[in-house]
Symmetry: C2
Subunit: 404 residues, 2 copies
């Protein structure tokens, strides 16, 4: 706690109780199945306190007893695990060409994962209606299973202000848009929390919570798509910035003499590795068919052709990898994360991108033993998973469901 002038807040006993409830909940998430004695031994809380906290969490249906008895020295112990049945959390990822919806339970298990090719570049009103319709169907599905919704978060490829207003989303072409308020209205003021956040931020959150790098407190998720975004986690917390819009890396200028970018300048990262640029270079015949409305089939074609050794495609991927490496080296020097993850459209292309990215980073970073580069294990829809995970994080931050 450094230099938080004026921000000092004293600890009080209500806070201590809530903090300790979340400590137990997070411990069980990480170590289930585990006993009350395990929790006491690891958290430093005394056994009577743990017992009372566990009873509270059982009543809120956040934990359940598995009924299993462990073999160990001393009395057999009742084991605890997260209660997966009563709750669900929903995330919807909005991209220029599609939406992905994900629902997960309290343990992070996926209950459903839907993808809809659906250009969202039309008028914002239509886009809001499309998102609300998809949200309504997902919510209907999981509440039909008897689950209570903990929260819904929509991931958008753009700048999202602290009040959940979308400020700038050029790839979907929205103007400033109070998406949260409009969704709440379209969903008829639901009882659950509705939120909007930047897609790369949520992808990073998912990565850290449920991905292959969950134990790494300092990471960046580079989310490839029509544009590129960076979701940054520092010391286990998302770096949001002073106005809530950190992670804008798409217009990092790599070469003032590079190709034209949609922003009017030249040589931006997006102009090399964004999907329109990549498809134009790897599949020059595609442009002749008119504008691309869903990039998934194009990515599949690139993967197939690269696998077959097509020179145009592999050449385009080597070029993209070198440019991506330049951006990754910049992130490593500035932020020093332990790992930079290639996600979104970069993940399926990683077998061809990664060697060039690594070579470029090796030649560029200021010192040699920087963080490593890896591929996200979450697959497409990471931001939707992160949207759902956000509701679970809120629970673990102390927004516990009420006692029944």
């Amino acid at each position: 706690m450094i230099g938080t002038r004026g921000a000092a807040q004293a600890a009080d006993l209500t806070d201590v109780r809530t903090t300790n409830l979340t400590v137990v909940l997070r411990y069980v998430r990480a170590h289930a199945p585990c006993s009350r004695a395990d929790i006491a031994a690891s958290t430093g809380l005394n056994k009577a306190t743990v017992s009372s906290l566990v009873t509270d969490l059982l009543e809120r249906r956040l934990l359940r007893e598995t009924g299993l008895v462990a073999n160990r020295i001393g009395r057999p112990a009742t084991m605890l695990t997260l209660e997966s049945r009563p709750y669900a959390a929903v995330g919807i990822e909005v991209a220029a060409d599609h939406m992905t919806a994900v629902a997960i339970d309290l343990a992070g298990e996926r209950l459903l994962s839907w993808r809809r090719a659906s250009p969202l570049t039309g008028p914002p009103g239509k886009a809001v209606a499309a998102v609300a319709a998809l949200a309504g169907r997902v919510v209907g599905k999981v509440t039909g299973q008897g689950r209570q919704i903990l929260g819904l978060t929509v991931a958008v490829p753009g700048l999202v202000a602290a009040d959940d207003t979308v400020r700038f989303a050029p790839h979907v072409g929205w103007p400033e848009l109070d998406l949260r308020a409009q969704l709440v209205k379209a969903l008829r003021r639901p009882a659950y929390d509705v939120a909007v956040d930047n897609d790369a931020n949520l992808a990073a959150l998912a990565e850290q919570r449920d991905g292959g790098y969950a134990d790494i407190p300092d990471l960046v998720h580079l989310l490839g798509g029509v544009g590129v975004g960076a979701g940054i986690i520092v010391e286990g917390r998302p770096l949001r910035g002073g106005h809530g819009r950190a992670g804008q890396i798409g217009h990092l200028q790599l070469d003032p003499g590079g190709p034209e970018c949609g922003c009017g300048r030249r040589g931006c990262l997006d102009a090399y590795v964004g999907l329109p640029a990549l498809v134009r270079r790897a599949l020059p015949d595609t442009a002749a068919d008119g504008p691309v409305v869903d990039y998934a089939p194009e990515i599949e074609r690139i993967v197939a052709l690269a696998g077959a050794g097509d020179a145009t495609v592999t050449g385009a991927l080597v070029e993209a990898g070198a440019r991506l490496g330049h951006a990754v080296a910049t992130l490593l020097d500035l932020l020093d994360p332990r790992v930079v993850l290639l996600g979104g459209s970069f993940a399926p292309l990683a077998p061809w991108l990664l060697p060039t990215v690594e070579a470029e980073v090796g030649a560029r970073v200021t010192i040699p033993d920087a963080g490593r580069i890896a591929v996200s294990t979450l697959g497409p829809g990471a931001a939707a998973v992160g949207g759902a995970a956000r509701a679970l994080d809120r629970v673990e931050a102390g927004h516990l469901p009420a006692l029944p």
Copy 2:
């Protein structure tokens, strides 16, 4: 608290007491003179607890009663303030061409500020001896005033690992160097804490604690010198990165076709705005006099000539400002700080740099209402001030001096 899997630690009562002592201490620093009742009203702690905490802090000689009685409704109150007399904290900033030493009291007031032109680019053993000698003289001076040293931190222009080992400091030419251990030995194992940290990190800490931007939780201090470093504060805490070496911005490549850099590549930020590059361009006659050993007189000449409207100098500063603006725009897009401060060698040149930096940033950042750009009010030696402030931060983080 998001996604800190496994990092959960329960609150206990010892922690609560220490936390509350630091809450009171920080409150008094920010609001002195203030009464016990003020503290209770603002922190949410009850009056008896505040009274007990204040007594403790008085006994540790961290607070004192001013004896003043405030005019207010109800009983007159004894006012409290930080006790400035018994303690001092020391910071020493090491640069390629000089050292700066600063000592401050608990309230952050400067007790002394010394600058020594002293090339530290020789063998590390000689540099360690020079730093230790300067430290010894500063410590002798303030202990001679009856003060107890709270800590000494040395600021170095390089990468510093979490164990205070200097890993990479090309501008002073040191190899990997266990500076802390060698200083502790040279200073004969002093009773106070000895630490080593990156200069830009410490400058940012000073900025946030005692500079003109102390209330801004998200800021970057761009420390100009022989090389450029970025000290990054996120949500009131220094961003150190997974290996403790975030903020490497000197080799951000702005133009692959730019001038040669010492790192072997072209067009790095250092190759445009580092002092050697800037002096070469602004004062082309200087190179003829042999290598520069102290840049202070060269900066003074640049300021004088720019003030007189010299076309070569102002042209060099406009060019440097544009390149610095490119780097600042990158920081604003990636990190979204509320303010980027120009410090170190950039501060005296700011009247000529700032307009171009601002114009370049305006043309580059992804959205228009990004953080603003300002000049550090700390002057040269900001990293030394930060080094001293680090010891005060440790106190406020709970490393309280023992009861006598």
